[in-house]
C-alpha cells in the first residue's frame, strides 16, 4: 500500500515531460538489450553472460572503424553491427555448440560464458584502454526543446530506433519462418527436432540476430553517453531484470518491465541519491524473484523437471 502511495505521489511529480522522456530513453535501451538477450535465452535456455561483451563490442568496433580507421559513421556502424553479430556466432560455434554436443548442463554453459566474458572484456580493456571513448562527431549539446523538456536528437533516435526494433522483432517471431521455428525450439526442443526443424541452425540464427541487436544497442548507448569496456555487464543486468520482471518469454513483458525499472530508478534518484540506482534495480529483481518469479506476463514454471 505504501508503494501505491509513493507511486501516486511520484506520478503527480513526474507528469513533468522531462521525466517521461528520461524514462522512455532509459527503458528504450533496456528493451533493446533485453530483447536481444531473450532471443538467445528462450532458444538455448542458459545464461549467455558473454552477451554483455557482444553489446560492448558493437560500440568498440564502431570506434575502431570510425576513429582509428577513419571511416564515416555511416560505414562504421553497419560494419560494427556485422562484427558484433559475427562475434556472437563465433561464441556459439567455438564454445557453446561443442558443449551442447557433449550434453553439458546449462551450468557448464553459464560458466563457459562467464569465462568468455572475462577474456573478451579484458581484451577490449587492453586494446582500447579503460578510459571512456567516444564515437561522436558532434559537440555535446543541451538538446532541443520539446514541450518544455530537453532531449537531444541522438536520444530521439535511440527511442525511435528501439520502437522500430521492437516491432521488427515481434513481427519476426510471429510471422517469419525462422522466427516461428525459434519459438518452436524454445517451447520444446525435442518436438521441434522431430518436426524437422534443425535446432542447431535455429540456435545459430538466434545468436546472429541477438548479437546484432546487442551490437546496435551498444552503439546507441555510446552515441549518447560514450563507451567504457565494462558498460556491457550493467546494461545486460538491467535487461535481465526487465526480462524477469516482465516475465521470461514475453516481449510485452519486457516493455512493461523496462518501463517499471526505469520508473523505479528515476523515482529512486528523486527520493534517494543516484548512487543507489543499481541497488534499487536489484532489490526490485529480488522482490520479483521471491514473490512473483513468473513476472507480469510469464508462465508459472515448474519447480523441477523430473
Amino acid at each position: 500500500m505504501m508503494f501505491i502511495y509513493l507511486v501516486r505521489q511520484s506520478v503527480s511529480k513526474t507528469v513533468n515531460i522531462q521525466y517521461i522522456f528520461n524514462i522512455l530513453l532509459y527503458s528504450a535501451v533496456t528493451i533493446d538489450v533485453a530483447i536481444s538477450f531473450l532471443l538467445i535465452y528462450i532458444v538455448t535456455r542458459f545464461f549467455h553472460f558473454a552477451h554483455a561483451v557482444v553489446f560492448t563490442s558493437g560500440a568498440y568496433f564502431t570506434f575502431l572503424f570510425s576513429k582509428l580507421l577513419g571511416c564515416s559513421l555511416l560505414v562504421a556502424i553497419p560494419l560494427a553491427v556485422l562484427c558484433a553479430c559475427t562475434l556472437g556466432c563465433l561464441m556459439e560455434i567455438v564454445v557453446y555448440k561443442p558443449l551442447r554436443k557433449k550434453k553439458s548442463s546449462s551450468l557448464i554453459l553459464l560458466l563457459a560464458s562467464l569465462g568468455i566474458y572475462i577474456v573478451l572484456q579484458n581484451v577490449i580493456s587492453m586494446v582500447f584502454g579503460d578510459d571512456t571513448k567516444s564515437i561522436r562527431t558532434w559537440p555535446v549539446v543541451e538538446g532541443i526543446d520539446v514541450f518544455g523538456a530537453r532531449i537531444t536528437e541522438v536520444q530521439i533516435i535511440i527511442i525511435v530506433a528501439s520502437v522500430v526494433l521492437l516491432i521488427l522483432v515481434a513481427g519476426y517471431l510471429s510471422l517469419a519462418k525462422t522466427g516461428k521455428a525459434m519459438r518452436a525450439v524454445a517451447n520444446d526442443p525435442e518436438l521441434a527436432n522431430i518436426s524437422g526443424i534443425n535446432s542447431n541452425k535455429v540456435i545459430l540464427i538466434s545468436f546472429a540476430i541477438g548479437s546484432a541487436l546487442a551490437g546496435i544497442a551498444g552503439i546507441l548507448v555510446s552515441l549518447d553517453v560514450d563507451m567504457t569496456p565494462t558498460m556491457g555487464m550493467n546494461a545486460l543486468m538491467m535487461g535481465v531484470v526487465a526480462m524477469i520482471v516482465g516475465g521470461v518469454g514475453s516481449i510485452w513483458g519486457i516493455v512493461l518491465g523496462s518501463l517499471l525499472l526505469a520508473l523505479a530508478q528515476n523515482l529512486g534518484v528523486w527520493y534517494i541519491s543516484s548512487q543507489w540506482q543499481d541497488a534499487i534495480a536489484f532489490a526490485i529483481l529480488l522482490i520479483f524473484l521471491l514473490f512473483k518469479p513468473e513476472g507480469f506476463f510469464g508462465k508459472k514454471l515448474k519447480k523441477a523437471n523430473i
Binding site: 560458466l111 562467464l114 543499481d278 536489484f282
Partner: protein, 304 residues
C-alpha cells in the same frame, strides 16, 4: 623472499575462500556468485570493530564469523527456494547490493575511500606483524577451515549434500529436508569465507569495496572449478595455480597497465578451456551436469 611470502599468504587467503565455496559449488551443486560479499563482510566487520572499538583480534574474528553466518542466512533462506538459474541471479543481486552498501554508506564504511590503518592482529599480547607471522596465521586458520570442511564432507551430512547435488528431487522424495541442508551449508560456507576476509583486512591493513566485487566472486568460482569441484585438496591446487601463475608474468616484463588484464584473461580462458575439456577441474569429481550421471552409468555397465 618477502615477495614469496606475500604470494604464499595470498594463496592461503584464497584457499580459505575456495575451500568454503567448494562446499557449496562442488559438493552441493549450488553456484553462488555472492561469495565475495561474505569475504567482504568478514573484512569489514573486523576492520570496523578494531578501528571503532579497539576490541581484541580473536573477538573480532568470532564476530566476523557470526555476522557472516547471519548474513548468509539472510541471503540463503530466501534465495535457496528459487530454481537453479534464478538462484544464481539472486546471488548476483545480493552481491551487487552488498557492494552498493559498502560503497555508499560512507559514514559507516568509508565508502570508496575504504578503511585505512586497520590494526594488525594481537593475540594475547603476541603481535603478528611480519610476513612470516602472517603466513603462520593464515596456515593455522586455513588448516582449521580445511579441517572443518573435511569433517563436513566426510560426514553423513556431506553425503546428503552430494546426494542433493546429484538428484534433489529423489532426496526430497526420500523424505530428507533438502532446504534445511542447503541453508545450513550456505551459512557454513559464508562463515568460513569471512575468515579469509579477517586475514586480508589485518594483513593489508587497508580495505575498500573494490576488493569484494562480483569479479572477485567469479575469480573464486574459477579457483574452485579449475582446482577441482568436490575435492578440497583441489581447491588448494586451484588457489596455487590461479594466484601464482599470473605473478610469474611479472618476470616476463609485461607493462603494468595490462598485467591485471592478462591475469584476468588467463583465468577466464582457463575457465572456458576446462569447461570444454575437463569440467571437473584438476582433481575434482563433479562434472556439473548430466554428463556425470551418464559417465557413472557407463562405468557401472562396463564393470559388469
Amino acid at each position: 623472499m618477502e615477495y614469496l611470502l606475500h604470494i604464499l599468504i595470498l594463496i592461503g587467503i584464497y584457499t580459505i575462500l575456495s575451500v568454503s565455496l567448494n562446499l557449496l559449488v562442488g559438493y552441493t551443486g549450488i553456484l553462488s556468485i555472492a561469495h565475495a560479499a561474505f569475504y567482504g563482510v568478514g573484512a569489514y566487520v573486523v576492520a570496523l570493530m578494531a578501528l571503532k572499538f579497539q576490541t581484541p583480534f580473536l573477538l573480532n574474528l568470532f564476530l566476523a564469523i557470526v555476522a557472516s553466518g547471519i548474513f548468509g542466512a539472510l541471503v540463503g533462506i530466501p534465495s535457496l527456494r528459487l530454481r537453479d538459474d534464478y538462484f544464481i541471479i539472486a546471488t548476483f543481486a545480493f552481491q551487487i547490493i552488498t557492494f552498493s552498501i559498502l560503497n555508499n554508506l560512507v559514514d559507516f564504511t568509508g565508502g570508496p575511500l575504504g578503511l585505512p590503518g586497520i590494526p594488525q592482529p594481537n593475540i594475547f599480547g603476541f603481535k603478528i606483524t611480519t610476513h612470516v607471522e602472517f603466513l603462520i596465521l593464515v596456515i593455522i586458520l586455513g588448516g582449521v577451515t580445511f579441517w572443518i570442511s573435511n569433517k563436513i564432507v566426510k560426514s553423513p551430512f556431506g553425503r546428503l549434500l552430494k546426494a542433493i547435488r546429484e538428484d534433489e528431487v529423489f532426496v526430497r522424495a526420500a523424505g530428507r529436508n533438502v532446504s534445511d541442508a542447503k541453508v545450513k551449508v550456505f551459512v557454513i560456507s559464508a562463515s568460513l569465507a569471512s575468515i579469509a576476509g579477517v586475514v586480508y583486512a589485518t594483513y593489508i591493513t587497508y580495505i575498500d569495496p573494490t576488493s569484494f566485487t562480483i569479479m572477485e566472486s567469479i575469480f573464486i568460482i574459477s579457483i574452485v572449478i579449475i582446482g577441482g569441484s568436490a575435492n578440497l585438496k583441489g581447491s588448494i591446487v586451484g588457489a596455487v595455480v590461479l594466484v601464482a601463475l599470473p605473478e610469474l608474468l611479472r618476470f616476463i616484463g609485461l607493462p603494468n597497465s595490462i598485467a591485471a588484464n592478462i591475469r584476468q584473461i588467463l583465468y577466464g580462458a582457463l575457465l572456458v578451456i576446462f569447461m570444454l575439456w575437463r569440467p571437473q577441474g584438476f582433481l575434482g569429481e563433479y562434472k556439473f551436469g548430466k554428463e556425470a550421471v551418464r559417465s557413472k552409468e557407463s562405468e557401472i555397465r562396463s564393470k559388469k
